[in-house]
Every structure is written in structure tokens, then in C-alpha cells.
């Protein structure tokens, strides 16, 4: 008996994305929630600093656990902000941001810039709170990875708007590489102490521009507004 070859299995079609609304609306609505959580983190960092100065171990630990909760919430907010059909990112969201500012970047967020500057408080956590500190660092890592997941699901290995088209490094690589390492370093991550934070040796051309944009955001965050 001659066996006939089975017809190729039909390609598994992706189930339709559950979101039925406008991609740009989701992007903006959930970003606003992200800003609120970032502001909560700023307060949490201030509370941590006060507990450190007062040398109150119980309050230090509590403040760290609260920061872990807030950071994880902010990571989910990033994921939800990009929770819409991938085909809508380019024409609906990316093009809208590019039309507003060709170099549009999350680094221009006043709340984010302030948080990145203030996160250095975490590097002063004493050894008695090492476990809680480690949980905060893991949560911070999750924030960057979630952000990168959103980027990767939409633009793959392409550069971000702030990087421009002439770059070879992807936005994802920049996020989970340099930006993530720098944030972890600032937050006192022991395994990132060998990182030269400001090194731009491997960052050329437009990639350098994106890095500078974030650094400028850090600098501007230190300028009092009142």
C-alpha cells in the first residue's frame, strides 16, 4: 500500500487580540497610570531615605518591600500600555509619537527622570536589609525587561525613535543592556559594579544620541523648578 503524504497542517492562526479599542487610547491611558505609580515610587524612595537617616531597620525593610510592590506594578503598567494588536503599533502609536516629536522618548518624562536620579538612595541600604534590597533590584530588572518586551513585540530588532534609523543597536538591546545596567548600578546592584556607567564606547552615532537624551533627562531632573 502506498502511503500518501498528509497535507501540510494549516499554519496555526493566532487568536485575535482581546483588545477591541483604539491602540493610541490604551497607550496614553495606561501611560498616565504608569506616571502615577512612578510618583508613588518617588514618595517611597523619600520614605526609604528618611528611614535610613533615622536608622530604623524595620522602616527600611518596610519601605523596600513597598518599593518592590510599586516597581512590579509599574512593570505591569508598561505591559498593559502595549497590550493591543501588534499591527497597530506602527501606524497608530509610533507614527503618532514621531509626528509629535521625531526623537520622542520616554526619557523626556519628568517623573521618570526624577526617579532615575533618586533611585541612587537604594545603594545606601545596609546589609541587614540585603534580602529586601535584592527583591527591589529584581523588580527593577523586571521593569526594564517588560519595557523591552513591549518594544520587541512591536519593532523587533529595530531602533527606537530616539535612536533614529541610522543605528545598528536595537531599542531592545539598549534597554536591557545599557539603560538597565545603569539603573541597577545606581540602585546598588552588587553584580553591576564593574559596569562603566557612562561609557559610550560601544554606542556610536544615533545610539549615542539616545543615551545622551536619557542623561540629559537625568541632568534636567536635578534642576529645581521652583
Amino acid at each position: 500500500m502506498r502511503l500518501t503524504r498528509s497535507p501540510p497542517a494549516p499554519a496555526q492562526s493566532q487568536p485575535p487580540h482581546p483588545y477591541r479599542g483604539d491602540a493610541l487610547v490604551r497607550w496614553k491611558v495606561v501611560h498616565r497610570a504608569f506616571f502615577v505609580i512612578i510618583d508613588f515610587i518617588l514618595i517611597g524612595l523619600t520614605r526609604l531615605e528618611m528611614a535610613l537617616v533615622a536608622d530604623r531597620p524595620a522602616e527600611v525593610r518596610l519601605a523596600l518591600l513597598r518599593l518592590e510592590t510599586l516597581l512590579l506594578g509599574s512593570a505591569v503598567a508598561l505591559r498593559l500600555a502595549g497590550d493591543f494588536p501588534g499591527t497597530e503599533y506602527g501606524p497608530k502609536v509610533r507614527d503618532d509619537m514621531a509626528a509629535f516629536d521625531p526623537e520622542f522618548s520616554g526619557s523626556f518624562s519628568a517623573d521618570h527622570a526624577r526617579m532615575i536620579k533618586r533611585i541612587a538612595v537604594l545603594s545606601r541600604v545596609p546589609p541587614y536589609a540585603a534580602d529586601e534590597h535584592g527583591r527591589v533590584l529584581s523588580a527593577l530588572d523586571a521593569v526594564y525587561r517588560n519595557h523591552a518586551w513591549v518594544c520587541e513585540s512591536f519593532v523587533g530588532a529595530k531602533p527606537s525613535l530616539a535612536q533614529g534609523d541610522g543605528t545598528q543597536q536595537s531599542g531592545v538591546d539598549l534597554l536591557v543592556g545599557q539603560f538597565r545596567r545603569r539603573a541597577l548600578h545606581r540602585a546598588g546592584c552588587p553584580s553591576s559594579t564593574d559596569i562603566t556607567v557612562k561609557s559610550t564606547e560601544a554606542v556610536r552615532g544615533a545610539e549615542r544620541h539616545a543615551v545622551l537624551a536619557e542623561e540629559q533627562a537625568h541632568d534636567s531632573a536635578s534642576i529645581p523648578t521652583t
Partner: protein, 128 residues
């Protein structure tokens, strides 16, 4: 949405008003998942008083433009009250938006809701 100038959140915070505190309490105690949260929130617009709205020139133009893109205004007064109202407003609009579909897992929903509740509880506990 009106948010405080972020630097103000590093100073001694104002006391959240009794009305906002009551809304926060209902919200924190509800413990509902994200898409059900509207049932425990007041439907009244939680926009701050006109007197609280202060045009602010943030030093970097890019920051101002970024705010404008996301329809964010800044206030220089009552940072705790401003942020509490913004959080309630934000949770409500996120809940409404999430009701039109999302792919978050229950754990992710929990983490997002918990972060907003934890932040609000932190604000309202400031003077307790």
C-alpha cells in the same frame, strides 16, 4: 490629568482631604480586580479645584512637550491631594479601558491593582 511637579513629592506632604480620603478608603478596601474596580469608585469627576491648577514651566522643554502629548498638566501645590486624585482618576480610566479587552494574567492584574492601592494607602497614611 493633573500631576504634581515630581520634586514636590520629596518634601513634607500635605494632608489628603477627607473627601478624597473616603474615596481612597473605598477603593483600597474593595480589593477587586482591575476590570471590576469601577463599581467601587465615585463617578464624580475628580478634577482638582481650579485654584490648585498652576501652570508650571518645567525646566526642560522636552519634558513639557512629553506631558502635553500624554495630556498631563502639573500642579505646584498640594502634591499629595493632587496625586491621590490623579491615582483614582487613572484607575478609573484604566479600568474602563481594560473592560474593552486585555491579555493580562490574573497575577498581573493583581500586581497593578496592588501597586495603585499601596501608593494610595501610603499617601493617606502620611498623617495617620
Amino acid at each position: 490629568m493633573l500631576l504634581p511637579v515630581p520634586q514636590l513629592l520629596e518634601t513634607a506632604l500635605d494632608e489628603v482631604s477627607a473627601e478624597t480620603r473616603a474615596s481612597v478608603r473605598r477603593f483600597v478596601e474593595a480589593r477587586s480586580l482591575l476590570i471590576d474596580a469601577n463599581s467601587c469608585l465615585s463617578t464624580s469627576k475628580s478634577a482638582p479645584d481650579e485654584t490648585h491648577v498652576t501652570p508650571v514651566r518645567i525646566s526642560a522643554n522636552k519634558q513639557t512637550e512629553y506631558d502635553r502629548y500624554f495630556a498631563v498638566e502639573r500642579s505646584e501645590v498640594c502634591p499629595a491631594e493632587t496625586l491621590a486624585r490623579a491615582a483614582l482618576e487613572s484607575f478609573q480610566e484604566v479600568s474602563l479601558n481594560a473592560a474593552t479587552g486585555h491579555s493580562l494574567t490574573p497575577i498581573e492584574e493583581h500586581l497593578l491593582g496592588t501597586a495603585l492601592r499601596e501608593g494610595l494607602a501610603m499617601l493617606c497614611a502620611a498623617r495617620e
